[in-house]
Subunit: 250 residues, 2 copies
């Protein structure tokens, strides 16, 4: 049985305001919950699961979650589910402390300005994790890392990539000791640039690109060469092609 107050609490975690207030976030569905539990980078505060899910998990491996599991009925789970067809399990995890101890030397670091789409954000974090990026620095108006859809599409990469939110221009003023690349539509072709061992790669908003303020701070303006006709590439695609090319040349 889930009490009304628990239902209210879980539902409130759909909103950033309450995620911040309670310092936790939701993960829904067997795959993402299992990955976050295995990864063990986030403390699990509570789990609401059907009997059927509990049978699938290895209690010897996940002994640390015994105390936080609540068995619920399907109709109860559907009340707290964020998805159109509810899953077998929903878990509440504690958010991590912000970590501004960011090393940019000898690394590729991603900087996101005002990315709005949770799916794009999730894809960017996963792709960053694929290419070994350790830190993503976001403008304050970029979509929340702990947004449910971001969590669903990021999976275990959530624990492996450090994502922080700050004023980007101010942050760059005191951390400008590696090359800062602005990704734009009319810059130098990406394939023509020389080798980098380290860089901060700035990616702009889906509809408007990077702000002039950030472009002005950058050391180089670089574009992905266009062969065909499409007006733009989405932010996730642009990030991934930059990371591929920079790693290839490294």
């Amino acid at each position: 049985m889930i009490s009304k107050s628990i239902i209210k609490y879980i539902q409130s975690l759909q909103h950033k305001k309450f995620r911040d207030e309670f310092n936790c976030f939701l993960a829904e569905g067997p795959k993402v919950v299992k990955e976050l539990l295995s990864d063990n980078k986030f403390e699990c505060l509570s789990i609401y699961a059907l009997e059927i899910w509990i049978k699938t998990i290895d209690r010897t491996v996940f002994s640390h979650i015994e105390q936080v599991i609540n068995v619920v009925e399907e109709h109860e789970l559907s009340k707290i589910s964020q998805q159109s067809t509810s899953n077998n399990v929903i878990a509440v995890f504690k958010k991590r402390e912000d970590n501004f101890d960011i090393v940019v030397k000898n690394k590729f670091t991603i900087m996101l300005e005002n990315i709005q789409d949770p799916g794009n954000m999730g894809t960017i974090i996963r792709t960053a994790d694929w290419f070994g990026v350790k830190n993503i620095i976001c403008s304050e108006n970029t979509v929340d890392l702990y947004n449910n859809k971001v969590v669903q599409s990021t999976m275990a990469s959530l624990g492996r990539v450090n994502v922080v939110y700050t004023n980007l221009a101010n942050w760059l003023k005191s951390n400008h000791d590696v090359k800062v690349i602005a990704t734009v539509l009319n810059g130098k072709p990406l394939n023509s640039i020389s080798t980098f061992n380290e860089a901060i790669i700035m990616i702009g908003n889906e509809a408007n690109g990077l702000s002039q303020e950030l472009i002005n701070i950058s050391d180089e303006k670089i574009s992905i060469p266009r062969v065909g006709m499409a007006e733009s590439l989405n932010a996730g695609i642009a990030t991934s092609i930059f990371l591929y090319e920079l790693n290839r040349k490294r």
Copy 2:
């Protein structure tokens, strides 16, 4: 005023069955509708728009749509809207005829197996358009090109890239005159391959990758080198990195 039968008709176009039956599809919102009208690759059958949208369009440029415009009230538009906040305009366009007249020589062609996510599908078509790909050949169980979410994220690239659905293995049997590349997790590193002038690039389902049947038909198995830890890259990201690299080397 929109009649009840029109409302029912528009709502039915959310479903592939009725899009096939009526041979048309929906586009919603000022940006996508304007792009599809400007592009003029799809015949516009009807437009349902608020007065405010009609004021924004250039009637001299879009004279061909005069006869199909219906001015509606906000509460009417919200009834036929597919989105949580309804837009100023919804248009019905005629689907194009399937075009199997596909030239693979001297070109890069994309082949998609069982891609399910409409957002991924839209991103792949737009990215293909960016890199000048003319044809995408999909397995029959790949998400419908005219799915509302695919249309929203594809925009005008919808008219520039030819997308067809067929049995992939059968199709390859009679069109196997260029190299067929399977994108897999444990193949040759993409950056190590030699120059191609033409290829069919096969991309698999988000969760399961390519089927063994298609991998067996391929001439080369190629992977995107992984530096970090993420388990996989999404189908749109994989496609875009392949297209970038193949075009770079061309």
